[in-house]
């Protein structure tokens, strides 16, 4: 604000209905016509020059002009534009990648939820919903994936919209877990700008899948470019293999996709943590940890609302009108009434204003 040039300061003023401003020439009307009564005087030159009368006459003209101009501008609805201010707060850009495969609708015990039981999707909905908006300056993007990746909400600081996306994640899911394309899309959510911003990629899934070796190279390059902090919130179903478990037989990606996805993430060279959660409490603990880890300065924009200026215009109009009303009240007619002389002395204005 301080460094703004006068032109910039001026450009921040605007009106709602600019067409009304075409009436503004009407504000010159008081210089042409008067609201005062016309009093015929035989010869104006007969009277002495009266500076006071002249001044009152001009005051009435200017007041009339101000009154009309103020009303016209007031009707047009003047305001000062809102502005966006960039500041620095504490937070991070978080791209959330949510698994929407069908198994997310089961409980941590791998059953259909019944009674008070909570499905994995419902638990992550509840806990992620608390996470979003717990800090004012975080930015979030939501991507869903099953067979295909779906961009749900682009990177935004509108937390209500992000929560609306989180609220949808315990709806019935789709078929499969195809994590590779989901990862690519959630990485693309970070956009190109901002090298200093803390970026976090949070994957919420209950399973893993084989990442095609051909895609692995592309993903590696993307991770190296964006360098997000990677968090994998693995919602493990009881009895299913853990990230660390080595399969009894052959150790291939097909036999133990979770373990190999973990190995792939570790090999990326970006900061990476996996949280294995076997219940809602563990999910909550993991989210608290992520929150504590992502504490870096982030530039955020603050929207200053526009300020209404109608009252200024109407105030000016009111001042002008009050002067005009006073002028009308002080009118006296020289010819009328027997007490002509004191009136003329009292109200010398009308001769000039007439």
């Amino acid at each position: 604000m301080g460094g703004a040039t006068p032109m910039e300061a001026l450009s921040r003023f605007a009106v709602d209905t600019p067409l009304v401003l075409w009436l503004l020439p009407l504000a010159l009307l008081p210089f042409r016509a008067s609201a005062q009564r016309v009093v015929p005087v035989a010869a104006l030159d007969a009277g002495p020059a009266d500076p006071l009368s002249r001044a009152i006459g001009w005051a009435l003209r200017i007041a009339g002009s101000l009154a009309l101009a103020g009303l016209i501008v007031g009707i047009a609805g003047p305001y000062r534009r809102g502005e966006t201010v960039t500041r620095t707060g504490i937070g991070a850009q978080v791209s959330i990648l949510v698994d929407r495969s069908g198994s997310m609708n089961e409980t941590f015990a791998g059953r259909q939820p019944s009674g008070a039981e909570e499905s994995k999707a419902a638990a992550s909905r509840r806990l992620l919903g608390d996470f979003v908006g717990s800090r004012a300056h975080d930015q979030f993007a939501v991507t869903a994936f099953s067979t295909a990746p779906m961009l749900v909400v682009p990177m935004t600081d509108r937390h209500e919209a992000v929560r609306a996306a989180i609220r949808a994640i315990d709806r019935p899911g789709l078929d499969y877990t195809n994590v590779a394309r989901g990862l690519a899309m959630s990485l693309s959510q970070f956009g190109a700008q901002g090298g200093t911003v803390s970026r976090a990629l949070l994957i919420v899934s209950d399973g893993a899948a084989v990442i095609d070796p051909r895609v692995q190279g592309t993903l590696r390059a993307e991770f190296a470019k964006i360098r997000p902090n990677l968090y994998w919130l693995f919602l493990r179903t009881k009895g299913s293999p853990s990230i660390a478990d080595k399969p009894a037989g052959e150790d291939t990606p097909q036999a133990a996709p979770e373990r190999h996805l973990d190995l792939f993430f570790k090999s990326l060279g970006t900061p990476y943590r996996a949280f294995e959660a076997e219940g809602p409490e563990a999910v909550a603990a993991a989210i608290r940890q992520i929150e504590a880890l992502e504490r870096d300065p982030i530039p955020y924009t603050e929207q200053r609302p526009r300020r209404d200026l109608s009252w200024v215009a109407f105030g000016v109009a009111l001042l002008g009108l009050l002067v005009l009303v006073a002028g009308k009240l002080a009118e006296a007619d020289v010819r009328r009434g027997r007490r002509g002389i004191p009136q003329a002395a009292e109200a010398p204005s009308e001769r000039i204003a007439a």
Binding site: T17, L26, L29, A33, S34, A35, R37, V38, G64, A67, L68, L71, I72, G74, I75, G77, R100, V142, A144, T147, A148, P149, M150, L151, V152, V153, P154, T156, R158, E160, A161, V162, A164, A165, R167, A168, R171, P172, L174, D175, S310, W311, F314, G315, A317, L318, L321, L322, L324, V325, K328, L329, A330, E331, A332, D333, R336, G337, R339, Q343
Partner: protein
């Protein structure tokens, strides 16, 4: 003194100016009047199946535009046209069910993410290739009911695979319980459907042999006996391969109108990337939104009229009298 004052108070121009000043005072002190406006709360479900890639619309610069592009443009236009406080949820449709991307989002405060999500709608989000419109529509109606919103279902109406001769599934809900609009996307003439490979690149169009032309599940149709090579046991659908136009696509308006009648929704054809706001507001449940009516322009306008009258009155009155004086001068 009093005499003069009384005369001044009776003066029409004084009264006009005083009235104008009074109206301006009112404009300065009166708060905006609260009133209710009508908004909508709607779940938009967009068909993203293959036939929505048909390019049978023209974009603003005259280039062909796909049905999905046009529908996306129409939805973005709709979001800007709805009054603040209205809410829009978004879902995708392919296979036989809608998939909810997000629950309702307010269209003004959260415009940027909503617009971004609409702009990102893509056929590549589809998880399966089937397009069972009626099943998807019925489940979308259930979804809208669970979200307590109206429904806006954008589709071209092409069932893939084609419906069996016995017809599609029946609507089990209460017709009219969910209000809203079916939007038919596509031109009325048949157009070829673009085909994509598994990396998402376009590789031509579907040919007549690439798609199922007739649904041969369930009992055969009534006219099967008259078909060539018909055999009740070995060839109940006739002896020759089915032919048809299922590899080409146009908007299936009669079918969509039937579905609209069955579910109690209204039907409208998508004419271009816009124009959905009026039919939606006509079909949707009106939802009261808190609004405010600013009285200041009205009061200010009345004050301006009074003040102008005070200044113009002597000029108007002067006109005929001036002419009269001119006449007397001539006579003299």
């Amino acid at each position: 003194m009093r005499e003069h004052l009384a005369r001044n108070l009776r003066d029409g121009r004084f009264q006009a100016l005083a009235g104008a000043a009074f109206l301006v005072v009112l404009a300065l002190v009166l708060p905006a009047v609260p009133l209710t406006r009508t908004g909508v709360s709607v779940l938009a479900v967009v068909d993203i199946t293959g036939s929505m890639n048909v390019r049978d619309y023209a974009s603003a610069d005259g280039k062909p535009a796909s049905r999905l592009d046009t529908a996306r443009g129409a939805l973005r236009d709709l979001v800007t046209a709805l009054p603040c406080g209205s809410q829009v949820a978004l879902g995708l449709f392919t296979e036989r069910r809608p998939f909810l991307l997000f629950t309702p989002i307010e269209v003004c405060a959260d415009f940027a993410p909503l617009d971004g999500a609409l702009a990102a709608l893509d056929w590549r989000m589809a998880w399966e290739g089937d397009s069972r419109i009626s099943a998807g529509l019925f489940r979308a109606a259930e979804m809208a009911a669970s979200l307590d919103t109206d429904l806006l279902f954008v589709t071209d109406g092409q069932e893939a695979p084609p419906l069996p001769s016995t017809g599609g599934p029946r609507f089990e809900g209460k017709p009219g319980a969910v209000r809203g609009l079916i939007v038919g996307a596509g031109a009325y003439a048949l157009s070829p459907i673009p085909r994509y490979n598994d990396r998402g690149r376009e590789i031509g169009f579907y040919g007549s042999g690439d798609v199922q032309q007739e649904n041969r599940f369930g009992p055969p149709p009534a006219d099967a006996e008259s078909r060539e090579g018909y055999n009740p046991r070995n060839a109940p659908f006739g002896g020759v391969a089915a032919t048809g136009n299922e590899h080409l696509s146009s908007v299936r308006e009669p079918y969509l109108k039937t579905l609209a009648g069955e579910t109690g929704l209204a039907y409208v054809h998508l004419e271009g990337p816009g124009g959905l706001a009026a039919p939606l507001r006509a079909a949707a449940t009106p939802r009261p939104l808190p609004g405010r009516l600013d009285l200041r322009p009205v009061l200010g306008g009345a004050a301006l009229a009074l003040a102008l009258a005070a200044f113009l009155f002597p000029m108007v009155r002067a006109l005929p009298s001036g002419r009269a004086r001119a006449l007397t001068l001539k006579k003299a």
